[in-house]
Every structure is written in structure tokens, then in C-alpha cells.
């Protein structure tokens, strides 16, 4: 199928002539201040950005198309977050940006410039991986880093979660070995522990 992709109608094709009349009143507003120069800057080609990764300021050379996952794995050697799915549906690339769980594989590196990134590598002393070990919550281990970060974010948001909330809240991560039952027990132990 992928060979045929190039034959598809491009978005440019859709956009051409899509200027259908919109049935709505048009009003003019000038609520926005006049364009300030920095916001109009356009980045193309390679550029340097810095971000705070696990508490340390780090610099990367990125193109606009470089994802956060590319930077973490191939420039910072932080290989915990995994490249599994193109669209982030596996959850294996989960990291925290500004404390919130995001999929590094669908986050552009430029959008994270000057922000705080936390990866599973900084959670070594955290109770979450310890609970995973305690409850034998992994088999091959490939999904584990993404799961650990997602659980950390979930517990930050729902420290008193019920079992049903845990089941519902961790649906963004997939484990092909099927260790969900033990992951669930690990998370339940942390809620009770709190």
C-alpha cells in the first residue's frame, strides 16, 4: 500500500478551490495587537535549540521535522522512550513536557524549545519502576519505559484513583506481551501506598 501513497491526492489538491462561501456574518475586529516581529520568524533548515532534560540544560541541532523522540534518542542518548508507532498510538514514546504526558514521537522538537522534559531515565529512584519490579509488571520490557512515565503522569493527576479509573486512564499504552494485569496491580499498590 505504501508505494501507492504518492498517487494519492495531496492536501494541496484538496485546498485548491476549497474556498466555498461560508454562510456566516463577517465582523471585523482589531483585538490583537499589531504583529510583533519575533512571532513572525520562520525557521527553515537546521537550527540550535535548548531544552531542560531531566533537570539539565541541553542543546540540540534540529530541523523543523525533527521530533522530540529523535532528539532524545539520537542526540541525547536517552533511549528509554521507544519508536514504535508513527502516530503515537503505542504510547511507547511517552515523556513528560512541563509535567504533562506527551508522545515524543508526535511532538516536534522545535515546539519543546526552552521547555522542561522528563524522561523515564530520571525516574530511577521513583516508586513507579520499583512497583513494576515488585509486581513483575513486564515481560519483554519494550513498552515499560512508556508505561512507567504514563503511570507517573497518571498518579500525579489522580493520586487516589480507583481501579476503574486506572484501567480507563492508562489506555494510551499498549503492551504486546499482555502484562496488563500485573501493571494494574503495580499501580493499585501505589494508590493504596499514597
Amino acid at each position: 500500500m505504501s508505494q501507492q501513497s504518492s498517487q494519492g491526492v495531496s492536501r494541496r489538491g484538496f485546498l485548491k478551490g476549497s474556498g466555498a462561501a461560508v454562510a456566516a456574518s463577517t465582523v471585523v475586529s482589531s483585538t490583537e495587537a499589531e504583529a510583533a516581529a519575533p512571532g513572525l520568524q520562520v525557521v527553515s533548515g537546521e537550527t540550535s535549540i535548548t531544552m531542560k532534560v531531566n533537570g539539565k540544560s541541553m542543546t540540540a541541532k534540529v530541523e523543523p521535522r525533527t521530533t522530540l523522540l529523535d532528539v532524545l534518542r539520537y542526540q541525547f542518548d536517552l533511549t528509554g522512550a521507544k519508536p514504535v508507532s508513527l502516530d503515537g498510538s503505542s504510547g511507547a514514546s511517552t515523556v513528560l513536557v512541563g509535567g504533562k504526558a506527551v508522545m515524543a514521537s508526535t511532538t516536534l522538537a522545535l515546539a519543546v524549545a526552552r521547555k522542561e522534559v522528563t524522561t523515564c531515565e530520571s525516574l530511577g529512584g521513583d516508586v513507579v519502576p520499583a512497583a513494576f519490579v515488585e509486581h513483575d509488571a513486564q515481560q519483554c520490557g519494550f513498552c515499560t519505559p512508556g508505561f512507567v512515565v504514563a503511570v507517573r503522569a497518571f498518579l500525579n493527576r489522580h493520586p487516589d484513583a480507583t481501579e476503574e479509573q486506572i484501567r480507563a486512564g492508562l489506555n494510551g499504552n499498549i503492551c504486546r506481551c499482555g502484562t496488563y494485569a500485573n501493571i494494574l496491580q503495580a499501580v493499585i499498590s501505589l494508590v493504596k501506598g499514597n
Binding site: 500500500m1 505504501s2 501507492q4 501513497s5 504518492s6 498517487q7 494519492g8 491526492v9 495531496s10 492536501r11 494541496r12 489538491g13 484538496f14 485546498l15 478551490g17 476549497s18 474556498g19 466555498a20 461560508v22 454562510a23 456566516a24 463577517t26 465582523v27 471585523v28 475586529s29 482589531s30 483585538t31 490583537e32 495587537a33 499589531e34 504583529a35 510583533a36 512571532g39 513572525l40 520568524q41 520562520v42 525557521v43 527553515s44 523543523p64 521535522r65 508513527l86 502516530d87 503515537g88 498510538s89 511517552t94 504533562k100 504526558a101 506527551v102 508522545m103 508526535t106 511532538t107 516536534l108 515546539a111 504514563a150 503522569a153 493527576r157 476503574e164 486512564g169 489506555n171 494510551g172
Partner: protein
């Protein structure tokens, strides 16, 4: 991914200026949960990507003087869930809870969810929205495709899970561009369309236009609920979905609104189903009739006749849920009687 230019405007007018660059195909980036995957697959090959998340005016949820709640295009789904101003929109919150991926909730935006491109696998493999004027869908695997509004070449289903509930809540969108200082307010339902030609999108936005806010009018005591039929827990798109909002006065329905999701190329407004409820007491029978009315015109493709019943059930359960009846599921005890929720007692005294 094809390489592209990147810009991060800090005001709405900068965003419009960046999006209206002549001879450049532009794409709007918010959370990126949909766009980045589409760019990796080269389904979207933009020359310039404009990240709107740093625009202050788009980062807030605010209530205006008339009581309407304005949700900016950079507001994430979890921020909508947590905000007190949105408590009167239970159907929308139910849908976001159903998306049930902490990553999608904290990275994805509400407006981005409304603008999600169709999940049709022919589209996502690069065959275009219409996939050879509907031929590929007709002759291929169409189990998740449209059962309503599919008589033209478009057979995909609209991908937004939130649109049905927000349409029943009377939501509007504020759109800016393509001209400098151009601004309009449009009913959310009118944002969507069923494309009839390869040159058309599944929405009416022109190049250079940007949805900046969703505006939901004050809802008062109006009841609302959403119900999604899914093949499992998780962030996958549902098989069929429905949302309802209605007033119940002296035990009888007034002014119902029912919108179906996952059944047609745009959110499907089921006016006859809503009319069938008016003046009636909500019970299993009247709710089931609304479901049958909603699907009366369904025209299934070769592999998706099953969706008719699922959509009927979605309507029935959304109506019952809005009226306070238990419809099962994880979040409720198994009871078949109206719950003792305060809203129901007020309405069915």
C-alpha cells in the same frame, strides 16, 4: 517526513499572516497528535507548519457576559475536563473521559479533536478523501465506513468524537482569516461538509483560516449525554456514537437535539429522531423509537450493515443516560431504574 518551514506566532494576527503566505501549503499545528503522524506518512505534505500553542488568547477557557464558555484552540482536553466552567456540559466530558489515553488528553487539544482528519484507511494510506470517487471503499473493506450520507463519492466517517456532543450543546466556532482582521462566528455543524469532489475538504475552512475558539452557550439545567459503542476500551475510534441534549419539563421532553457520530462523512443531525421524543416521557420504548428514527434512512455498504443497530443502540442509550437512567458500563452500578440524580428529580418531579 518532508521538511518544512516552522513558525510559532504569539498573536492571532501573526498566525493569519503566516498562514496566508502565497504559493505555500500551510498546516496548523496544536497538539500534533494527528498532524505529525499524517506528515510522517506523507498524507499531509505542508510547506510550512504554524504552531498556534504559544498564542496567549488561545490558551484560555473563559465565560463571557452572556454566560457562553469560550475554549481557545490551544486548550488541551484535560484542561477542559478540569475546568469548572465546563461542568454544565456533561456529554462533552463523557466523550473526553472515553478517549481514555492520558497522552491524548494532555497533548491533544479540543479544537484539534474537532478538526481530526478522517480515520478512513484509504485516506490514511494516501488515496485521498474520496479514494477514487468512492470506488475503493465500495469494493474494498468498508466495515467502519459511512451508513448515512454516503450516496455521493464520500464514504468516510467524520473522525471527531466530540463534535456530536458539542453540536447538540449548540456550540459555535470562531474563525479568523484569511484576510487580516477577518473574523466570523459559525455554527459548529456548519464547519463540516461532505466533500463531493477531490478538491474539497471535510470542512469549510479556506487556506489561511484558523479556528481560534469553540463557543458553548450557557446550558442551565438542560440535560445532555453521549454514548459511544466501542469494540473495546481504548483510544480507538468508536463504531457508532450519539449525543443528545434536551429539556425535560414536567416529565416530558422539550427541544431535544440528537447528533450521531461515526456514521456519516459529517456529524449526522437526526432531526426526526429528536422530534419523535418531543412531548414524550423518556423510557426504554421512546428512546428506542428515537434510535430507529435516527437510522431510518441508512444505506449500508457491503460490510457495515451491523453499524445500523449499533447506532440505534447509541441513540437509545444516550437518551436514557441524559434522563438519568443507567445504561451500564464501567462508571455506573447496574440498575435499570432512574438514578436519584438531583438533575432528574428537578426535571421529573
Amino acid at each position: 517526513m518532508k521538511n518544512f518551514e516552522y513558525a510559532q506566532p504569539t498573536t492571532e494576527s501573526e498566525a493569519v499572516a503566516l498562514l496566508t503566505e502565497p504559493k505555500k501549503e500551510t498546516a496548523i499545528l496544536a497538539g500534533g497528535t494527528d498532524l505529525v503522524g499524517l506528515m510522517k506518512r506523507m498524507v499531509v505534505t505542508a510547506d510550512r507548519v504554524v504552531n498556534i500553542c504559544e498564542i496567549k488568547s488561545l490558551q484560555q477557557i473563559e465565560r463571557d457576559d452572556s454566560g457562553s464558555v469560550w475554549i481557545g484552540a490551544a486548550v488541551c482536553l484535560d484542561e477542559f475536563l478540569d475546568d469548572k466552567n465546563t461542568d454544565e456540559f456533561p456529554s462533552a466530558k463523557q466523550v473526553i473521559q472515553g478517549i481514555s489515553s492520558i497522552q491524548l488528553q494532555s497533548q491533544g487539544t479540543l479544537v484539534g479533536e474537532l478538526m481530526r482528519r478522517p480515520n478512513c484507511w484509504y485516506f490514511r494510506e494516501g488515496h485521498g478523501l474520496l479514494a477514487d470517487s468512492g470506488r475503493m471503499v465500495n469494493e474494498g473493506d468498508n466495515r467502519y465506513h459511512a451508513i448515512l450520507g454516503n450516496r455521493g463519492p464520500a464514504r468516510f466517517v467524520n473522525a471527531s468524537r466530540l463534535a456530536p456532543s458539542l453540536i447538540t450543546l449548540g456550540a459555535q466556532v470562531r474563525i479568523i482569516g484569511p484576510g487580516k482582521d477577518e473574523e466570523q462566528i459559525l455554527d459548529l455543524a456548519s464547519l463540516y461538509r461532505t466533500p463531493a469532489a477531490d478538491s474539497e475538504l471535510e470542512n469549510v475552512l479556506q487556506p489561511g483560516q484558523l479556528v481560534t475558539h469553540v463557543i458553548i452557550p450557557a446550558h442551565g439545567d438542560r440535560l445532555s449525554a453521549a454514548y459511544e459503542v466501542r469494540h473495546g476500551e481504548g483510544p480507538d475510534q468508536p463504531l457508532a456514537a450519539a449525543a443528545v441534549s434536551m429539556d425535560v419539563v414536567s416529565g416530558k421532553v422539550q427541544n431535544a437535539s440528537i447528533v450521531l457520530g461515526q456514521v456519516a462523512p459529517e456529524p449526522w443531525i437526526a432531526s426526526a429522531a429528536a422530534r419523535s421524543l418531543c412531548g414524550k416521557v423518556v423510557n426504554e420504548e421512546t428512546a428506542a423509537i428515537a434510535g430507529i428514527e435516527a437510522l431510518a434512512g441508512a444505506m449500508p455498504l457491503s460490510q457495515n450493515e451491523y453499524k445500523i443497530q449499533l447506532a440505534q443502540v447509541a441513540v437509545k442509550r444516550a437518551v436514557l443516560k441524559a434522563a438519568g437512567y443507567d445504561t451500564g458500563g464501567l462508571d455506573s452500578p447496574m440498575l435499570n431504574e432512574p438514578s436519584a440524580s438531583p438533575s432528574l428529580e428537578t426535571h421529573i418531579a
